[in-house]
């Protein structure tokens, strides 16, 4: 993964979020406060203007700046969580390009940052439930001999499966937790945006 691919990833997320902002907001309306799509769209439009026209010498620089921009513009729960995740990912990738192995370690660091900050556990119906399976699947594919493209594609599939798996869960973190059992039957908005992020990665690194 080089600088161009990384920029393509971030652009891909930006486009996907813009396309699905309304959907994310509607998911959040059902079990939250109807702002997740609006928040993410605002955040990624700040990311775009932060990155636009800049030159970068490492992959990590792009992702750290993305994280900083998200943290300072998204607000809500998702802002610090995604902000810290991208910053953690970026901090691992200190060269102009990254290997699949390095990317895996970075993604794992991102997941850990979310878990450290948000204290959510698998099954709590949060972005963790897409993020975790995605990292697992990425690792499994890589260990199984897959290339970067196929590993990222496996991660995206797993993120989407994890996202759908949030539907029957009872939320125990974030705003949806206030609904208790009434949160069942609804897909978690944060897990959904996480799935978009992994799908954009798979598309950016596709051979």
């Amino acid at each position: 993964m080089d600088i161009d691919t990384t920029l393509a990833w971030v652009r891909g997320i930006t486009a996907a979020i813009r396309r699905d902002a309304d959907y994310l907001t509607r998911l959040d309306a059902a079990i939250g406060d109807a702002d997740h799509g609006v928040n993410m769209q605002r955040g990624f439009s700040v990311v775009r203007s932060t990155l636009d026209g800049k030159e970068f010498s490492t992959v990590g620089e792009i992702l750290t700046k993305t994280g900083t921009a998200l943290a300072s513009s998204v607000g809500g729960a998702a802002g610090p969580l995604y902000g810290m995740a991208f910053r953690a990912i970026g901090r691992q990738l200190t060269e102009p390009s990254a290997t699949a192995e390095q990317l895996l370690a970075a993604l794992r660091a991102g997941l850990e940052a979310v878990q450290k900050l948000g204290a959510a556990r698998p099954g709590d119906k949060t972005m963790i439930d897409a993020f975790g399976p995605a990292v697992e699947a990425f690792e499994k594919a890589l260990r199984g001999g897959a290339a970067l493209g196929a590993s990222a594609s496996a991660a995206a599939d797993a993120a989407e499966a994890g996202m759908r798996a949030t539907i029957p869960m009872i939320a125990r973190k974030g705003r949806a937790s206030y609904l208790g059992p009434r949160s069942q039957g609804h897909q978690d908005p944060g897990a959904t945006s996480t799935a978009l992020i992994f799908r954009a990665l798979a598309e950016a690194v596709a051979p």
Binding site: T25, D33, A71, L117
Partner: protein, 331 residues
């Protein structure tokens, strides 16, 4: 969506512009999106900062002023402010004696304030954050996000503001916030949903004869949906939930019957009459009261009842002069 707004992306900015124009006693920074007392920072005074999503007006910006907050940082509608913004409010409020952050217990608010506090420490501003979680509608457990912060926020801002104004230390001011939070319980009910401007449609759908019990202040659905009931029964549900969690009998209390934004004052007084009767019948002395729209959810119709078990010190701090756009007495 029927709203008295201009560009949907500028609603928070337009609100700030209006506050700036209407209140010469406030300094409103439209870039940083903070509302600051015109005379802040005051050297040696503990700073008091609060913030959260917009849409709860007059909370928090309307409570900036003498005897209450030094600065407020409003986020987008129902979205917590971002760390840079909270930092700007903290710096503006800092007179060298430290700053107390009054943070409502929502994941977003807690995380963003936490990041801001770290940034503030980097700038050598001592910050003590206190989290408000008074909403008994939510189950409190280490395995959940915990109780939400609602009406106790206003009580804490007022009493801690009075103590800070009187020269209280950082630890003492923070202690009052904590004490108020521990002694306050709230419970809210919605008759209608509300519409986040950027979303354009109501946050939930309610039938013509339905209401939501145990709502928060972010337009999220409550813990239970029931048939619409008469005001005295609604008040009974709220006060019973509060009383179950924090027995009130024998206490002197401050009661707030708070409108969610779309319920007229007329109805709030009717609800207050029912609350006063309920409390009297349960051996509770209502020493102070507040009836009106103070901690709102946009145009939601509904009511939130908050009860603070007073101490002599808290009563004194409550009675102390305050001069803000949203709460004013004694000067």
């Amino acid at each position: 969506m029927k709203k008295l707004i201009g560009d949907v992306d500028d609603v928070v900015l337009d609100t700030l512009r209006g506050m700036a124009a209407a209140h010469p006693s406030l300094r409103v920074d439209l870039d940083q999106r903070i509302i600051v007392r015109a005379d802040a920072p005051r050297t040696g005074k503990v700073g008091l900062v609060s913030g959260g999503g917009s849409g709860h007006e007059p909370l928090h910006g309307g409570f900036v002023g003498y005897g209450m907050l030094d600065a407020a940082c409003p986020g987008e509608v129902f979205t917590s402010p971002v760390p840079d913004q909270i930092l700007a409010a903290t710096t503006a409020a800092s007179g060298g004696a430290g700053v107390v952050h009054i943070v409502k217990n929502y994941t977003g608010d807690v995380l963003n304030f936490q990041m801001a506090a770290e940034l503030a420490e980097d700038e050598d501003v001592e910050v003590v954050p206190v989290v408000i979680d008074d909403d008994v509608a939510v189950q409190d457990s280490t395995y959940t996000a915990g109780r939400r912060g609602t009406g106790a926020t206003l009580f804490a801002e007022k009493t801690a503001g009075a103590l800070a104004e009187a020269g209280g230390t950082l630890q003492d001011v923070a202690a009052v916030v904590r004490e108020v939070n521990e002694r306050t319980r709230s419970f809210g009910v919605a008759l209608t949903a509300c519409t986040v401007p950027a979303a354009g449609r109501p946050t939930f759908e309610l039938g013509d004869d339905e209401m939501e019990l145990g709502i928060g202040i972010h337009g999220e659905p409550g813990r239970e949906r029931t048939k619409l009931r008469p005001a005295p029964e609604i008040v009974d549900v709220a006060l019973s939930a509060i009383n179950d969690d924090m027995p009130l009998s024998g206490s002197e209390v401050l009661v707030m019957v708070n409108g969610m934004g779309g319920t007229p004052l007329m109805e709030l007084y009717g609800a207050y009459a029912a609350a006063a009767e309920w409390l009297g019948g349960h051996g509770v002395t209502v020493a102070r009261s507040l009836v009106g729209n103070y901690v709102t959810s946009l145009e939601m119709a509904g009511v939130m009842v908050s009860v603070l078990r007073l101490t002599p010190q808290l009563t004194e701090l409550w009675d102390a002069p305050v001069e803000t756009p949203g709460l004013r007495w004694g000067r």
